[in-house]
């Protein structure tokens, strides 16, 4: 059970980026969770609320995108999604493959924030890391 420390890291990452962009509040945090990330979704969601208390993320929601394991199957010469993390064999031809292409993801994809607008009603945009923004 290390979801609480993971949740604190999520809050730290989101806070840094939000502050760098001049945001006043974080409304949503989007994270990607690979099936082999070792993180239990429910435990992370539970811990998230605790970690957000008293920060600019308080009251925000955590949006989790779960990613299945994808391996490269040499026999089929393509990437295939595994229906189970208990069986690393191609679901099409049953060839074993440990050539992992997706499944260990554990990252913050994006955050939704409140930005104070300037006198022309434009938001103060851009973060210090040079990341692009999306509407």
């Amino acid at each position: 059970m290390h979801e609480l420390s993971i949740a604190y890291s999520v809050v730290e990452i989101a806070t840094e980026s939000a502050k760098a962009a001049g945001a006043t509040r974080v409304r949503e945090v989007h994270v990607r969770l690979g099936a082999l990330s070792g993180i239990v979704r429910g435990a992370l969601e539970f811990s998230y609320e605790i970690a957000c208390a008293g920060t600019m993320l308080e009251g925000s929601s955590l949006v989790v995108r779960e990613l299945p394991v994808v391996v490269y199957c040499a026999a089929c010469d393509r990437e295939v999604e595994l229906p189970s993390v208990q069986y690393f064999c191609c679901p099409v031809c049953d060839t074993p493959s440990g050539d992992l292409r997706q499944g260990r993801e554990l990252d913050v994809e994006a955050i939704e924030v409140d930005l104070p607008g300037d006198e022309h009603g434009n938001a103060g945009i851009g973060d210090s890391q040079g990341n692009t923004e999306q509407e």
């Binding site: 290390h2 990330s37 993390v85 923004e133």
Partner: protein, 224 residues
């Protein structure tokens, strides 16, 4: 006031991964091979490591060990009986070791005098899988008393490991341990994984384990 979506794309464990990456580079400059031992509590990590350290010492190979536990220094004391430098890392209740803890505990050691550095992780088959400690080789231990289906119950840690070691083989018969089933389950979650069978008590399989370490050291060109 305007609501915006900021793209971040940042690994949640980036900090640990970065510390681990730098640590690994540093350890390589000393020609060290670093081994992270992970398993559930009671699978025989300490006994296995004790025998390993003793045998390495007899062979004239210099090793050191860090041992992580939530509390007590019992394991460090057991390992220190081998005459090898050992340090205990108490995690104060935390369920895993992190790269920074390793880095901190290496501070006053002359790393150039060792060939192998062992890290005995906290007994836990879940959390340690997420934390890179700067190791070269992650070894997952499975004792015959635990049941053959453990790899299926904890696929993450078995999948993240490089070598699997089945321990307490001296008890295999008494436990009616099905070695073939265990091997099949390990390979179901990690195709092609190297699997060794050992007994720290009788010494069976320990020579092969040491040979395997020497091979890893050569393969990774981690030669002092």
């Amino acid at each position: 006031m305007e609501t915006r979506v900021l793209e971040i794309r940042k690994g949640i464990l980036n900090k640990n991964d970065e510390i681990a990456r730098r640590l690994r580079e540093r350890l390589h400059t000393f020609g060290l091979l670093t081994i992270n031992l992970v398993s559930s509590p009671g699978s025989g990590k300490t006994a296995f490591l004790q025998r390993t350290l003793r045998m390495l010492r007899e062979q004239g190979n210099a090793a050191a060990a860090l041992v992580g536990d939530l509390a007590t220094d019992n394991d460090a004391r057991r390992l220190a009986e081998t005459g090898v430098p050992v340090k205990q890392i108490n995690t104060d209740g935390r369920c895993h070791l992190e790269a920074q803890m390793i880095s901190d505990h290496l501070a006053d050691w002359d790393l150039g005098s060792f060939e192998y550095l062992f890290i005995e992780n906290v007994g836990n088959l879940v959390c340690p899988s997420s934390y890179d400690l700067g190791e070269d080789v992650r070894v997952v231990l499975l004792s015959v008393t635990e049941g053959e289906d453990k790899p299926l119950k904890y696929p993450n840690i078995f999948n993240s490991a490089d070598i699997a070691v089945i321990t307490k083989m001296d008890l295999a018969e008494a436990c009616e341990f099905d070695l073939e089933a265990a091997q099949a389950n390990i390979r179901a979650v990690r195709p092609g994984m190297r699997i060794l069978t050992t007994s720290a008590k009788s010494g069976a399989g320990m020579e092969q384990w040491l040979a395997c370490l020497a091979e890893e050291k050569t393969a990774r060109s981690v030669v002092a």
